[in-house]
Each structure stands twice: as C-alpha cells, then as structure tokens.
C-alpha cells in the first residue's frame, strides 16, 4: 500500500473539527528521545543509523495505539510522497530530506506520527485538530510510556532525556499550535503579539513562506525551553499564551467589523473575485486569498462556504497535492493554471460574499 492509498483524502481529513478551530487549525506535542550507546543520527554512519532504525521501527509498529498504521523507510518513499507528508504537517522538511537509515510510522487518523532518525533517534508527535494540547500530551505520554520497556532511552536524573541538540534537553518536549490570525494581521497588531509571545520565551513563526513571511496568515507558536520545567508546567504556560492570542484575534475581528468593515469586505470580496475567476494563480497568492475567504466564512459573509472547503482547497492547491492529482510531471506554470482551474471549479457553486445590511 502506498502512503497515498493509506491516508484519507483531504476532503475527509479537513472535516475533522476541534475546539476553537476557527482560529486554532491544529495542536501538536512532540517528544524527542534517543537510544543509549548509539551516536545521534547526524553524527552516526549509515550502518549505525540502520541499526537504530531496525531497533526502533518494529518496536513502534507493535504498539496498538498506532493501529492501523503505515510504516516506511524514507528511502522507499518518492520525493512526491515525502512532499505530501510535509504538506500534511506529518513530517518536517528536514525529515523529508532524509534517505537510508531514516523511517516513519503514522496512524490512519493522522493523530500520531513517529519520525525515526530525524535529528534525534525518535521524534514522536501527537496531533489534534483545534486547541487540544492536553489531549496531545496524554496521547504522546502514553505512547512514550509504551515504548519505554522496549527501548533503552538515554536519560539521566539531572539532565533528563538526552537529545542531539541541547536546546531540546530535559523533557524533549515541543508543544505547538498552528494559528490562523488574519484579524491580527489586518489590524496590524501581529508584531505586538509576536513580541509579547517572544518575551514569554515562545517562538512564533510563519508556517508558510521564507524568512519573516507568513503566507495565508498561518502562524506556529511553540515553546523554546525544555529543561527546568515539567511537561505539565510547559503545557500550562503555553496554553495560557494561546488562549490570550485567541482572545486577541477574536477582539481584532470584532473591532475590524465595527470600525473598518468596508476595508474587510473589500479584501474578502476581492479575494473571492480572484479565486473564483483567475486562470492562473501562484501558490503564494492562493494561500493569502484563501485565508481571507476562510475569514469571510467565519464573519458570515458567505451563505454556503464551509471551513472544511477552504481548508481542503488550501491543502489541495499546495504543489505536491496538486501534482498528485495529475499523472504527468507538472512545471510551475502548468501548476498555476491547474490550480486556478480547480479553484474556479470548486467555487462555482459558492455565491459571492454579501456584506450584512
């Protein structure tokens, strides 16, 4: 079975709902673990990495928590497979670049995904739609505990779980949430929010785009510190920050509708106009405009536009997902044309946005 046959189609995946999912697209908790007496992946020679993969993958695959699952060595996946996994946020770009000696195990619900020999021997993550940090932690804590008797993790009572990079030392935990913040961006409040989060030692970065760009107004907030605080303390702290950001985004949307509704309607109307009528469109422009469409849906400007549809279009118009729907190899220009065609088709039955009276 290929990964494409295994994963549920985007139309189904995007139906998954969770608390606060009008702003929080997904939550994630990742744990880093390493085996004793084996060099870390980036320093290990290929035979070392293969030995670690052979030790870890069967142990992970026997866990009932992951059933039904898909497992593969990274060198058995095509570049397109890997890119699809990146676009679905199941593996990191770094892991997609890995070859022999690295592997992956993912469950069908896409709630658990284990990367083997990424930067650490084990990077296991729990994912949930919406704001569900605690549920993610419980799931991954459980998976980690189930692996403990099977694998000999490098751990000392003083330093905790030993990781390749000292920035992950201790708990090895990275808690993050993917946020859609068009209100704060339109209100030009986003820099203030990012700075405030930075002051609390949380990293905020655009999930799409290079450098400081945040295409589609999608941001990822994550903890930076992993040592000197317990996992529940870290989760408590970041949950507080996330709830504050959600409140700020809600306020920004309310304020925009109150004070600058013409500007908001203009943005959303134009976004619909371009998406529903363009004959060629880049992935970058698509992400930014779909973000506005999603906002329009939440502000009640559309009668027939579900969030799942905008999210599905967001995923399907990413380069690898677009390529996957076509057998021949697409160039960038062809992709832009096919992307526009798909958007026109999908939006044909969605009436244009109406500003409330």
């Amino acid at each position: 079975m290929t990964i494409h046959e295994f994963l549920v189609p985007p139309a189904v995946a995007c139906q998954r709902a969770g608390p606060h999912d009008q702003i929080v697209m997904s939550s994630r908790v990742r744990l880093a673990r390493n085996l004793k007496k084996h060099p870390f992946p980036s320093w290990a020679k290929k035979p070392d990495r293969l030995r670690v993969l052979e030790a870890i993958q069967p142990a992970v695959e026997t866990l009932p928590q992951l059933a039904p699952h898909f497992a593969a060595a990274m060198d058995d996946l095509t570049p397109l497979d890997k890119q699809i996994l990146v676009e679905r946020h199941l593996i990191s770009r770094e892991h997609a670049a890995k070859g022999a000696g690295s592997g992956l195990v993912v469950n069908q619900e896409e709630t658990l995904c284990v990367m083997i020999n990424e930067e650490d021997h084990l990077r296991m993550q729990a994912l949930r739609p919406g704001l569900q940090i605690k549920a993610c932690w419980q799931a991954i804590d459980d998976l980690d505990s189930a692996l403990e008797p099977k694998l000999d993790f490098a751990f000392t009572p003083e330093l905790g779980y030993l990781t390749a990079c000292p920035t992950n030392l201790g708990t090895g935990i990275r808690v993050s949430a993917m946020l859609h913040l068009p209100g704060l961006v339109l209100a030009e409040e986003i820099t203030r929010i990012i700075n405030a989060a930075n002051k609390l030692n949380f990293a905020v970065r655009g999930l799409y785009g290079e450098g400081t760009e945040a295409l589609g107004n999608v941001f990822q907030v994550s903890n930076q510190m992993t040592l000197g605080e317990s996992e529940p303390q870290i989760i408590e702290r970041i949950s507080k920050a996330l709830n504050q950001i959600i409140e700020e985004e809600e306020n920004a949307r309310l304020l925009l509708m109150e004070k600058k509704s013409k500007i908001v309607f203009n943005h959303i109307g134009r976004a619909y106009g371009v998406l529903a009528n363009a004959h060629t469109i880049t992935s970058k422009e698509t992400m930014n405009l779909l973000s506005l469409l999603r906002l329009g849906g939440e502000l009640g400007l559309f009668t027939k536009l579900d969030r799942s549809l905008t999210d599905e279009m967001f995923l399907l118009t990413q380069p690898a997902h677009l390529q996957q729907q076509h057998t021949e190899k697409l160039g960038a220009e062809e992709r832009d044309i096919l992307r526009a065609t798909m958007l026109r088709t999908r939006l044909r039955d969605i009436p244009r946005p109406q500003a409330p009276e």
């Binding site: 390493n34 004793k36 007496k37 084996h38 060099p39 870390f40 980036s42 320093w43 930067e119 804590d141 980690d144 505990s145 403990e148 008797p149 993790f153 490098a154 751990f155 000392t156 009572p157 003083e158 330093l159 905790g160 779980y161 030993l162 390749a164 990079c165 000292p166 920035t167 030392l169 201790g170 708990t171 935990i173 820099t191 990012i194 700075n195 930075n198 002051k199 030692n201 990293a203 450098g211 400081t212 930076q224 510190m225 992993t226 040592l227 000197g228 605080e229 317990s230 996992e231 303390q233």
Partner: protein
C-alpha cells in the same frame, strides 16, 4: 533554520532587532553575528531566549580541554562548535563541565524536573526501601533482636 544574512549556515543567534520603531526577528549564524556586531549590545535589544537582562553570550559552548574527544563516539569540541549538536548521549558527560553555563542561556533551569522513565522511577523507589530496611536491620542486630533481623534480611534479599 538558516542564517538570514549568508543563507548558508545554520542560524545559532536569534535576535529581535529594532529598526526605527519597528521590531524585526533576525536569525544569524555565528560568523555573521560577529560581522554584524552582535557583541555590541546597543544596536540590538532583547535576545529571544529570555536573556533580556543579560549580555549576549559571545560563545556559549561547553568548556572541555581543547582537543578532548568523546570516548564513546569520537566527537570533539570543534565538532560541537560547528554543529551546535552533540555526537551521542555520552557527549553530555565528556563535555559536561561548561554545560551548565550554556544551559542557563537556553532553559528555565539546569535540572530536569519532568517525566522519569517508569523503570528508573521504580528502581529509585526500591533503592529507598532497601536503605530503610537496612537501617532497621542494623538496629535489630545491635538490639540483639535476631528474629526480626532474620525477617528483615529476607525482605532485603527479595528486593535485591
């Protein structure tokens, strides 16, 4: 994450830079951070890693003898300086001496207070129990309470 300036090396220094009244995030590699004069704290503010009150650490690295290599994996101080990562879990022992200074710049604390593997947790609990029984055993012997001593000895044997 790549360095914003040269776009070649891994960024190790993460800063928030003030340009006019706007703030900008900057991620630099070690070389570029020196070139841009990060050692001059007046041109930058607010190190991202919660160091706002502290001066920029020019070379956060563990101090071991130069040339020291990890006996388990052969990793050297120079390798760490280049990659910012260790070679294996034993490197934390090898290069452990200056580690605390570096960890202070990265984390809330320098001691782990989170999850402990269950087996280790269990063995610690048992070790404590044995210690306690041993004390009672010593007392029983000095008090010539041989019946209790024999019982305690059995119990300790079972736990070990």
């Amino acid at each position: 994450m790549l360095c914003n300036a040269c776009k070649q090396n891994e960024a190790k220094v993460h800063l928030t830079k003030i340009v006019g009244d706007k703030m900008q995030k900057v991620d630099l590699c070690e070389d570029c951070s020196k070139d841009k004069g990060v050692d001059d704290p007046t041109s930058y503010s607010d190190l991202l890693m919660g160091l706002s009150a502290e001066p920029v650490p020019s070379e956060p690295e563990p101090a071991a003898e130069p040339g020291a290599k990890c006996p388990a994996c052969g990793y050297s101080q120079a390798d760490f300086k280049k990659a910012g990562r260790f070679g294996c879990s034993e490197c934390y022992d090898t290069f452990g001496e200056g580690l605390v200074v570096m960890l202070k710049t990265m984390h809330k604390g320098t001691r782990h207070t989170g999850k402990v593997p269950a087996a280790l947790h269990q063995s610690r609990v048992e070790a404590q129990k044995v210690k306690l029984l041993q004390k009672r055993l010593d007392k029983a012997i000095t008090e010539e309470n041989f019946e209790e001593a024999a019982q305690l000895r059995d119990e300790i044997k079972r736990l070990k």
